[in-house]
Symmetry: C2
Subunit: 271 residues, 2 copies
């Protein structure tokens, strides 16, 4: 599997990189099919927003070029891009001279059970809550201890994902997925202005819904609303859509809107 | 300056280290004088608590041995220890096989202006707020984007530190220091069960106060209480104690309790 640093093959990082020191950076995880990165423009758009909000002077044109070349070299699998602020020995202040570092890591296609997409998944109720931090909300930054703690809460294979709530109890997202509900024909997903990661597939589904005339709301969702939903599904840019079939003793059938969106998304991922 | 990885000289890190991927790890920054790490037991105690709460199986006895040997090699300066969960290619789940990685980085003694300790410092009012996350509060973990954002808010040399509040507006700490107040002879510092880093020097000052019969309270502190304090000071394990002389238009003289504690702490750092 290829590994590149700043466009060159490489397997190791200087110890003084601020990505290691402080999680001072961003990442993107892209599905790669037949040598092409999927949803590239959406990944780059989120990365650009992260660079703007963290004031990391990333060269997005260069990153695009490298992602295309890396994907061609990888063929099939997953390209993980990390963009760190670069080097600095000690001290939180971003050094004015720091050069952002681009890291690309290839891995094989993920091996999720086909039943996750077909019959749906069971969701684990994570006790680890998401903190409210508007300055970082939505970004796919490198400070991910909450997800590490949440994912460590279950080891069984029965639960394919876990549900994370914020400290106020609102449902927010999966550990590595975004969450959608359907209620009375309306598509709902959570507002991510306080916490959470604004997923690329979430953005794609919101755009698909708009294009196909499905009514959508993006807003806070209470725990009780999730339990009362007609359909529940998860999404991310690698697996597309997984229906949720069970959570906290509630069972859902795989709904028609879920199936419709799943077919649209599959077309995109198999393109 | 020496750099060690797992006890051996080294300057680079495997790209798949989870410290880089997720900030999945802890760190300690130790003052080293005449070849010895200061406040070693307190640093190790905090690291042990971090290992327990993050379920990182760090070998504390080995880390102690390495810190002693590294400090002897360094002589005078700062030893930064990073302990990451080890390697993992993708996925938040901590791999059961992961071997924690120990990184030691040496740097010269910090060059703070002597006036900071003598006349006191001016505090910058940071707009970046600390998120409430009880699962991580108190730990010196590698997820430090809040501090990076806060420290980037000022560039002038007039402000030696910045004050961080939580989202509810309580005062919590400096960007790289803990905060103490004196009011009517009582020593006060903030409760760090929701957010903040429980500093080693803070623990030392609390113990010193106890030993010398100074009354102490650890509790939530409102913004107005800070402004109404008789004395205000900051501390960390490298510089000891800095009196705060100015914040948001309020001026404080360097108080007698601040000077008393400063003298005790200086004895410790110059030992």
């Amino acid at each position: 599997m290829p590994c590149w640093i700043d466009g060159q093959p490489g397997e190791s990082l200087p110890l003084v990189d601020r990505g290691l020191a402080y999680g001072d950076g961003l990442f993107e995880t892209l599905a790669v099919r037949r040598g092409r990165p999927l949803l590239l423009e959406r990944h780059l758009a989120r990365l650009a927003e992260g660079c703007a909000r963290l004031a990391i002077p990333g060269d997005l044109a260069l990153i695009r070029t490298e992602l295309l070349a890396f994907s061609a070299a990888l063929g099939e699998g997953v390209a993980k891009l990390l963009l760190t602020r670069g080097d600095g020995l000690r001290g939180y202040a971003p050094p004015p001279s720091a050069q952002p570092r681009r890291i690309l890591l290839g891995s094989p296609p993920p091996a999720y059970p086909p039943a996750n997409a077909e019959q749906g998944v069971q969701l684990f109720p994570c006790r680890t809550r998401l903190a409210e931090q508007p300055r970082l909300a939505g970004l796919k930054h490198l400070n991910r201890l909450e997800q590490v703690l949440a994912r460590a809460e279950w080891q069984d294979a029965e639960h394919a994902e876990g549900l994370m709530r914020d400290l106020a109890g609102r449902v927010i997202e999966g550990v590595f997925s975004n969450l959608f509900l359907v209620k009375d024909g309306l598509l709902l997903t959570t507002d991510l202005r306080r916490c959470g990661v604004a997923g690329v597939m979430r953005a794609e589904i919101l755009a698909l819904a708009k294009r196909t005339g499905i009514s959508v709301q993006v807003r806070d969702i209470a725990h009780a609303e999730l339990l009362a939903a007609d359909e529940v599904f998860l999404c991310n840019s690698l697996y597309g859509i997984w229906p949720v079939r069970r959570f906290e003793g509630h069972d859902w059938p795989v709904g028609t809107l879920t199936r419709k969106l799943q077919a649209l998304v599959r077309k995109l991922l198999d393109a």
